[in-house]
């Protein structure tokens, strides 16, 4: 009898815990599985490609790493000033209606799937503007994808500044530029930096939009100009993963995945850490 009473008392809680179990264990399982598969493969030979033959493995992985980082940097350099400009316009000159329109537009931009940006870029940049499959096309497409994230984050950063501070700066006679450089920038930079790091992580993890606009299968160690295609870790994993008949090639794919995850987590965990420090700073 006692058993049934306890069971009845805790059935909802028990059921909830049971349903939530996957979410509690899956992150660890996924990470451990990837590292378990990938870490043994990562050594100097696979990275440099010395003494390896076949299936694009002879070039190692440095070309892919450079390609991924170049695309990421380019996208962030292109998107950051635009995002900052829009956020400043929002706070300095936009009236209420314009602000609402900008907000709606940003949410709409965010809701378009990344692969659609890839198609748009393929049609407009690669074919209509004759950029070809190139680093530049990939950079612009990735910049478009991370733009809403950067703008929303910048808006968030500026919103956190108290109205009193802006008003006292105004009453002291500061003009727009002085207000931005002397009051807003020192207060908002940690949040801005967080957003930029998240944008970098995002740009590193997108694969579909650059698959057919910026990358080739293999053979590029360092692109000679921004009008040349590159190789990236993301697309490298994609090509290697499908070589089912060759276990060694697939294990290299796990190695590349480990590298990619390390890079992405480096950026996103730094961002989260920075956010946490910033919050503590604000509260205390």
């Amino acid at each position: 009898m006692m058993f049934w009473k306890v069971l009845k008392q805790y059935r909802v809680k028990g059921l909830l815990i049971l349903i939530s179990l996957p979410a509690l264990v899956l992150p660890t399982i996924c990470l451990v599985y990837i590292l378990w598969q990938g870490l043994p493969v990562l050594n100097w030979q696979t990275l440099s490609g010395e003494g390896v033959t076949g299936f694009g493995l002879e070039h190692g992985m440095f070309g892919q790493i450079w390609g991924s980082l170049l695309l990421m940097l380019g996208a962030n350099v292109l998107a950051a000033p635009v995002a900052l400009g829009l956020a400043l316009f929002f706070n300095l000159y936009a009236n209420h209606n314009t602000q609402r329109t900008i907000f709606t537009l940003l949410h709409l931009l965010q809701s378009i799937p990344p692969i659609v940006y890839g198609l748009f870029g393929l049609f407009v940049f690669v074919h209509l503007l004759h950029l070809g499959i190139s680093l530049l096309a990939g950079m612009i497409i990735l910049a478009m994808i991370i733009l809403p994230l950067l703008v929303l984050n910048a808006l968030h950063a500026l919103k956190a500044i108290s109205v009193e501070q802006t008003e006292s700066a105004r009453s002291l006679g500061l003009n727009d530029m002085q207000l931005i450089c002397r009051v807003w920038a020192p207060l908002a930079w940690p949040t801005m930096l967080t957003g930029q790091l998240l944008g970098m992580a995002r740009a590193l993890s997108e694969t579909a939009p650059i698959l057919f606009t910026a990358t080739v299968f293999s053979g590029v160690l360092w692109p000679s100009s921004i009008f040349e295609p590159v190789t990236t870790l993301q697309t490298h994993i994609f090509y290697l993963a499908q070589e089912g008949g060759n276990a060694h090639v697939v294990s290299i794919a796990w190695g590349a995945a480990t590298l990619l995850i390390t890079l992405v987590l480096l950026f996103s965990l730094t961002a989260l850490l920075l956010r946490r420090i910033d919050q503590h700073h604000r509260i205390s």
Binding site: V12, L16, I17, I19, S20, P22, A23, L24, L26, P27, C30, Y33, I34, P81, V82, G85, L86, F89, L92, Y93, A94, L105, H107, L108, L109, Q110, S111, I112, P113, P114, I115, V116, L119, F120, L122, F123, V124, H127, M144, N175, D176, A201, L204, S205, T207, A208, L211, F212, Q234, I237, F238, A241, Q242, W254, A257, L260, I261, V264, L265, L269
Partner: protein, 281 residues
């Protein structure tokens, strides 16, 4: 510094132009296809680009199935996790779960594809006795894993925003834990949780790489329509598989652009729906 104002106006109008440019060029690129095939392709069941057959229904059904399976698994799991972590366990365990979810959200989609292809497919193959494991079920499961952090994190935030005064008022009325949860906490958090679910839906709709690797890319209707254990195709996986071989200017290329347009329209309507509901609330 006279340049600041016009410069900012310029940047803003540039972004407004960008928002208009994406749909405009997609319509332009897919126009030859709509002109030659007409709107009836939306219900066509045959997709053979080299015989000029462009039925889109199999991919639409595939996308729908994959999203439904993903939501069916991820919503209960995500919301339950949020409840357990915010209402039941200590805050240190809660922040550990949050950390785990953030790591899960940061894993790139192509790595999920790798996990799906080399961990999930063999499991499905042996447990359901399938030929290869490529199926809509696999796509749904991988999508569920990918949208789980989104739903969990949004639900956790929503539950945390319910003020403690409400919890205390409920307890002082003598409400049981279950009543407090179902009558006070969940109704208040629901609008934000629903926002998270819609966001997750959009994410699942547009996800390409992971789905493409596990879904099997076989363009035909599920037979019967409830069969989720067969290889199939989604809108995104079709674009990803075929865009490389479609020549620029051909009807095939144009048809794939039309698939992209369809994806953009569905994504935009989900977002607009979420937006209007939030504004009303």
């Amino acid at each position: 510094m006279i340049l600041l104002k016009p410069g900012l106006y310029l940047i803003t109008s540039f972004i407004a132009l960008l928002v208009l440019a994406v749909p405009f060029f997609l319509v332009q690129a897919s126009a030859p296809f709509w002109a030659s095939a007409g709107i009836k392709v939306l219900t066509g069941t045959e997709w053979f680009p080299y015989e000029m057959l462009f039925g889109m229904l199999p991919a639409i059904i595939g996308s729908t199935w994959a999203i439904l399976i993903a939501l069916f698994i991820a919503i209960p799991c995500g919301v339950a996790t949020a409840i357990v972590t915010t209402e039941l366990v200590s805050s240190s365990l809660a922040s550990a779960t949050r950390m785990g979810m953030e790591v899960l959200a940061a894993i790139p989609s192509i790595v999920y594809g790798l996990i799906g292809l080399w961990l999930l497919l063999p499991l499905l193959q042996s447990s359901f006795d399938l030929l290869s494991g490529h199926s809509l079920l696999a796509a749904g499961l991988i999508l569920a894993l990918m949208i789980l952090p989104l739903i969990t994190l949004m639900s956790m935030d929503a539950l945390r925003l319910v003020s403690n005064t409400q919890r205390e008022a409920g307890m002082s009325l003598g409400l049981s834990w279950e009543a407090l949860l179902f009558r006070v906490l969940l109704p208040q958090a629901w609008p934000a949780i629903r926002g998270g679910i819609l966001l997750a839906m959009g994410r699942a709709l547009g996800e390409t790489m992971a789905v493409m690797l596990v879904v099997g890319s076989l363009d035909r209707m599920p037979e019967p329509i409830m069969n989720i254990l067969q290889p199939a195709q989604t809108l995104t996986s079709r674009i990803g598989r075929e865009i490389g071989e479609a020549a620029f200017g051909s009807i095939h290329f144009s048809a794939l652009m039309a698939c992209g347009l369809l994806l953009a329209l569905i994504g935009l309507s989900i977002s607009l729906f979420a937006h209007t509901r939030v504004v009303k609330a």
